[in-house]
Amino acid sequence: MRKILIFGLLIVALAACKKSDRPDQLPDDKLTQVLTAYQTQLVGANNGWIGYLFPQGGGGYTFKFKFNDKNRVVTYSDLDAASSTTAKESSYRLKGTQLPSLYFDTYTYLHKLADPDPTVLGGTSGSGYLSDFEFSFISSSADTIKLKGNLNKSDLILIRAKADQGDDYIGKAFTNNVYISKIANFPYYYNKLVIGGKEYNITINTDQHTVSFYYNRNGFQRFSTEYAVASTGIALRKPFVDGNIIISEFHDFVVNTTNSTLSMVAGNITGSTTNEAAPLAIDLDAPTRMYVAQYDFTSDFGFTINGVKNAQNVTGIPNFLGIQYIPVYAQGYDALMFYYLSAGKQKNYGPAFNTNLTTDGRFIFYGYNGNFGTSPGTAGANIITSVRTQWLNASGYYVFQTGTNSYDLVSVADSKRWIRFY
């Protein structure tokens, strides 16, 4: 027994004494190799990369990046018409941080979403849309690279562009989104989608780039996700799954403004919508969620009436900036505040009222008691009065959440009247 023990020890001792070289590769070698490989991959795509960005603050945006081996990158984006067709060159570099990272290290369209100055693109003062411009590589295959923002954890997915996805690709994507946005010109708010033998209310919010499904299946169900625009369709950030229906993208949109119908293809199943006066499903909790969110909800255009955006001409208020629905504004009242500039300073004006949350899932605004703030003059005040009259309609509004902090309010009395907040 003891002999065995001694031999055993001897073997252990000898093994420990064995000369061993260093590991095959040093960490620095590995890191250099990985960074070089990523750089080669980025530069190697002849047609560049299509980038789908989903900032932490919500929404989905499409970019095109072309990297070269001189640390330069050319960018297009679907943020607005100009940046979708005009390229901007800036610089990038790869850096070994905790994970190998891609830095977009001088300003381009991508940075606008992350800009803390709200005069650049809106968003919150100090944080913008909580987006990113330095990303860690999470995974990569030949044609797909997944990255995650180092600061705000936004998602960026790069897909190698195909030969037919040239420099005009983002311009086409932007036009595509504008085309889809025509569905807001249908008279009624509700669009009933029939696909694979099932029915849903669908809302495509082309401002926030979100798509939402509302339906009853053992009670009310809601599914919302961001989408990124492609030249022929939209790609959903998260797939919509309902039994055998799985939708991860829509393409081949056909908007028929005469019949107020929309048809589109998901995978290989065609779906079509009809414009309806009544909802399929009502979200009973949505008014409460919105009311207690402690968020100042903004509307840029006020009510859409009978398919006409900005129907009450709120942008006609001199130096109009926006409308905010602010629950619990002051003195026991909620407010619908209109913001405008007067002599270079931001002013506000809007009705004080109370909000009733009914058990059948409605907002009813009542108890108007004068206005907060400073009147923008007779013409502007008249516009605000007309919006207020609609706002205080006694039958109230159904509420449909379209994203993290975005909600549509649809008049119960007349579903041709609705207002979009984000």
Binding site: D115, L151, N152
Partner: protein, 285 residues
Amino acid sequence: MKIKLSIIYASLLGMCIAISSCKKETLPDTPIVGLGGDTFAKGPIDDYIKINFTDPYNIQVKYKWDPYETSYNKNITPVNEANVIPALDAVIKIWAEPYKKIAGDDFLRKFSPKEYVMYGSASYNSDGTITLGEAEGGKKITLFVINNYDRKNVANVKQMLHTIHHEFAHILHQNILYPREFKLLNPEWYTASWFNTSVADANAQGLVTPYAKAAVDEDWVETVSYLLVEGQTAFDTIVTKNPGKAATNLRTKEAMIVEYFRSAYGIDFRALQTEVKNGIVLITT
């Protein structure tokens, strides 16, 4: 037997140590990634910086994004490349060249910050204020809001150069302290919540800007920067508008500054003011 066994164990252990300590050590020759700073292909902006900052004054200018040069947990954006050279032109004409002319190259080489770092947006603070510039230990000056730089906008140019002269004045007083009497002029107004004071109120209290109320050091450098960038005329206007103790204090501060620059650094402050003024005219027209 037990003793014998322990001897065997001990000798085995000794053998093991002996073998492993015989192993020859060779150091790896792989360079450490990122050691000595990031590398990237140089462009026209990099050439401009080398010619105008690095070669003459040994100053490094970082304009590409580096999260670790400032508060890495804040939402700040990098610079727009189009604004880098125009902004640096203003730094040369309104800060470097006036000092060079009055105090000489050696003075600049000795005291100039060794690093300028540029960011596109402002740095937003949790108290609702924004930071336009930072200086660290006389070594580094960080400039924010470069993306809003517009050389035709006099207020904008003055705002940026005010920051630089402010930070450079910090470096100067960190090397040679201003007169101690300065600290006794208006200690009652220094407060952490300086941003709740309007410009008019600060002036009425005998301070050139609200930020001068942040601390006595800030008061000193704000007054220096104000006299240089906003200029003597603007300073005189404040004094005229706020007679009494405020005016007396402001004049005392001005006299202390002129005397400090003469005795500490042998600089004619009045001549420096003129040079800065000329530089501003040159850049903004």
